[in-house]
Symmetry: C2
Subunit: 359 residues, 2 copies
């Protein structure tokens, strides 16, 4: 019995709806149908019309797997992120997917959670599916495991910093712009003592933000003593500790900038726990502009780094490996956590430091 031989599958069941069926129905060859589906311009318009009609009538939908196999183009893009709990990523991913779909691609998402095993599995999945490009949006490099992708010649794009290979491009984020705006905003309000809560030092983005802060303050003539810089970790918890530290020094800052919004959120909590209010007693600025910031009370003044912009730039970079992707800008979004500094020193205010942990 000739098992899977097409010609013998002539049972009564309706024919599988493949390109051959369409070709037969339209009275043309499969090649023509293929050309029509792929909008090859050399097809006779008449024929094309007839084929399209048949396609519509039959409801034919081409099989992407087969297409990918023969053409070698999977129409798949991968995006690898590190920490899925970071609320910055949803916007990034969503922007990436949208953009990818716009250009006819599907997205494979992988999150590594800073775990080598997971990263490995991630890369394996991408390779198996023959992705045509991978955006490594981890804000920190885990180079070694990406070697395979690179050696396979698959286009890759990183943020801020990347291995120098010819199939790899880098999206530069202009941290300075937004941070300078923020510092100027604070200075204009009259703040002279500004604290900074950093991110984890292994993250290039975190260091870049700190440096931007340092040079922006210098530019406006504000001195930032060592102890006004707290080394956090981009978590709310770190932000809370940062505030506790900053309020404990002799001359506490009247404004605090944070390396990301999560830290700022933690900072808000700590500030309110300390019995101080924002922005009356202390001003606060975050970084990222994640969705949350609009909804906290008071809404957080922050520096916007558009996940969609980064995503768009990434998709573009992957599809145009030669061309340098364009820089992503950042800018201040003034909401309600910044105001003129209070006359009295924030830390000196008498406050029940441990009031509201459990209402």
């Amino acid at each position: 019995m000739a098992t899977r031989k097409r010609s013998t599958t002539t049972a009564k069941g309706k024919e599988r709806l493949d390109i051959r069926t369409v070709a037969t129905a339209a009275g043309v060859s499969v090649a023509t149908v293929s050309r029509v589906m792929n909008k090859v311009p050399t097809v006779d318009p008449q024929l094309s019309k007839r084929v399209w009609a048949t396609v519509k009538k039959l409801g034919y939908i081409p099989n992407t797997q087969a297409r990918a196999l023969v053409s070698g183009r999977s129409k798949l893009l991968g995006v690898i992120i590190s920490d899925i709990t970071n609320p910055f990523f949803p916007e990034l991913i969503q922007g990436f997917e949208d953009k990818a779909i716009d250009v006819g691609y599907e997205t494979l998402i992988g999150s590594t959670n800073y775990d080598l095993q997971r990263m490995e599995h991630c890369v394996q999945r991408m390779l198996e599916r023959q992705v045509e490009g991978v955006a490594v949006m981890t804000f920190g490099i885990e180079e070694p495991l990406l070697e395979r992708l690179s050696s396979e010649g698959i286009p890759m794009v990183f943020i801020d910093v990347a291995p120098r290979k010819k199939n790899i491009s880098v999206i530069h984020v202009n941290y300075d712009q937004g941070i300078r705006e923020a510092v100027q905003h604070l200075a204009a309000l009259g703040h002279r003592r500004i604290g900074f809560i950093t991110g984890p030092p292994r993250l290039h983005s975190a260091n870049a933000r700190l440096n931007a802060f340092l040079s922006a303050t210098e530019r406006v003539g504000i001195r930032v003593p060592e102890m006004c810089i707290f080394h956090g970790d981009h978590t709310a918890e770190g932000g809370s500790r940062g505030v506790e530290h900053l309020l404990s020094i002799k001359q506490p800052p009247t404004a605090i900038m944070c390396s990301n919004d999560m830290s700022a959120l933690g900072a808000m909590h700590a500030i309110s726990r300390a019995g101080l209010s924002i922005p009356a007693d202390i001003s606060l600025i975050g970084f990222d502009d994640i969705q949350l910031t609009e909804y906290v009370l008071p809404p957080l003044t922050t520096i916007r780094m558009s996940g969609r912009d980064i995503a768009a730039s990434a998709v573009y970079a992957l599809l145009n490996p030669g061309i340098a992707p364009k820089q992503v800008e950042t800018n201040l979004v003034v909401r309600q956590t910044t105001g003129v500094p209070s006359k009295q020193t924030p830390g000196s205010k008498p406050a029940a430091r441990k009031s509201a942990d459990k209402a």
Copy 2:
């Protein structure tokens, strides 16, 4: 010239790393390699070892496209959501992806944004990629366009309510449980006047929540006058309007429950704008337990509906079309927006109704 004929591709360039290369290198047939890769048990352990060694050494990674084409199994699952701005979905999607990867599947995400065009495109994409199942997580049905998926016999899973077809299953959410807990919690604190801000009436989930509220209040002997129910739309804006309405009635409620967290967030803002404080003047409870709720001030008491649970249930349902997926529970998460009712009527408190729109 025999163009793509394998045998003539004997140029100097390193051979394409396909199953044949591995077979040759390991001194076995492609069938054996295939069996080894697929862990077919009837392979001689010795041989299997040898093949694995070769695979490792060469770094062979099978081509999923080819596999999918011949086996008819794409190892792809689709998930369709409606409103991507709804912060409930990230957890859902992420849970879905994780679960899918666990069982060896990749995920295709589509968001319709309540747009028919987009829904159509979405379904088309899923069909093209030959997904093996689709989770329709829209909390509201857009039946007609899904017809094709259904008629193709592709397993589907819906939330709450679905067309009755044999390849379609439904995940039931137990809204009653969490809502009853919330109402009892409020009642135990001494609240007798509880307001409710609903979601859009076309959403089954929204209606179910309202009904659950109504029966829960009845059960504890609390009467809910018509005007204590405000018809919102699951947006922060709707929540704000809800509060404005509820505070304007003669006997304003001392506690408000919202059909989702976004409404509750909007409600928080409106309450604070009205010069009232939470929970001293008014208690508030949300629904969903999106990530934001932990970070607002004060942290929101809400009813948790686990996106991960729903996701897990959905993946399970798609892979086991026969079996009914298990129900998803909801439960109260007490944070800091609920407390004993204030002695005075909230609405009567003298307050600058329009104070803080711009700090």
